[in-house]
Subunit: 220 residues, 2 copies
């Protein structure tokens, strides 16, 4: 058995993707909690380029960047794959995961990384609802982005759902009202997949954590 | 034989990655030149989410996003692969391609998408040299990022090299002086790989094109 370590921060939508992928494959691993303000020496030495979680260490070899790690886990460990077998379906999954990565940090940051009541919040809310509507369009009548089962794009997106409460409270809007299909999808991901349920933080804990960060950076 | 079409703009570092990958595999295709100011109906219908080149159409099915397309070509067509076989080496190639995508458009945009003499130009130059130094560190003594042969990360980066002249003229610096190893790597990619040489636009033509764009947007 390989020695597997994950450097993560419990709220990280990126790090928690790796938790889900490892849990889905049944890979045993040890998680090290990184503090985003004072980065640990192992984080700095294993991801010198970005100095960011997540980092997956397999027998001491580092793999960085969450979507790269998901592909690595698919390829390096036996068991069910997150990516489908068909090349076109794989491209589609990768397209939507990349879409999440391009859009979500940007619009979410406008909601939670700015001073209370800043004009960016309204902009961020509108953009986020637009992103979710686009994602609902892609989801259509399928239970998952991956089709009948949780797949690569589902994992990429579902780790943002524990942040929904924070976006809603800071932005003053209801994601469930605006995007009921996406909300049902999120509940399905958690309700039907233990690997998801056990990998996500409590939404209230995320809100408390974000509140602490906002105080630290003088945004409250 | 599949019917393969590429929607591209001849200066696009993203679209030209696809040219290289198709040429390396020996895939016959037809290229449609897209005008970035008035986007064609096929571009809008085949990439409604981003409305951007490149789009690869294979028997009418669209694949979007250049790095996603490179993976698709690796998987869907027979022949030499851009990505290596080993999972860890694949992750490393994907990490560096993602690094190029995260960093290059941002620092390059600060040089060519801003008014002449704007403070952003100086910032963009410094960032770009930093990015190239980081890439030189990864390259080390290897001939290619992929090792002994042109690989996925090489293709991701080399399509920016026809823009170097433009960055240099607008930024007032010499990439060859600042980053001699990267310059030697670029010459090697072109000199040793016909699939690269025949896929890249002339640097002077890129400069003229950018000049036209800058005039159009009132930046000159």
């Amino acid at each position: 058995m390989a020695d597997v370590k994950l450097l993560n921060c419990f709220v990280s939508p990126f790090g928690n993707r790796v938790r889900i992928a490892l849990a889905k494959k049944g890979v045993e691993y040890e998680e090290t909690a990184e503090n985003m303000l004072t980065k640990g020496p192992l984080l700095l030495s294993s991801n010198p380029v970005h100095a960011k979680v997540p980092v997956l260490l397999v027998d001491g070899k580092a793999v960085c960047e969450s979507l790269v790690i998901l592909e690595f886990i698919d390829e390096a460990f036996p068991g069910a794959q997150l990516l489908p077998a068909d090349a076109y379906a794989r491209a589609n999954a990768r397209f939507w995961a990349a879409y999440v990565d391009t859009k979500m940090p940007e619009c979410a940051g406008k909601i939670w990384k700015v001073p209370k009541g800043a004009p960016a919040v309204e902009e961020g809310k509108k953009e986020m609802v637009g992103v979710f509507k686009t994602l609902e369009g892609e989801l259509g009548e399928k239970p998952y982005f991956g089709g009948d089962a949780l797949g690569y794009a589902d994992v990429a997106l579902v780790t943002f759902t524990p942040w929904f409460l924070t976006y809603e409270r800071l932005g003053g809007f209801s994601i469930a009202e605006e995007c009921p299909k996406l909300t049902a999808w999120a509940a399905r991901c958690i309700g039907e997949n233990e690997c998801v349920a056990k990998s996500l933080p409590d939404a209230e804990a995320v809100y408390q954590f974000v509140g602490g960060m906002r105080k630290h950076f003088g945004l409250e």
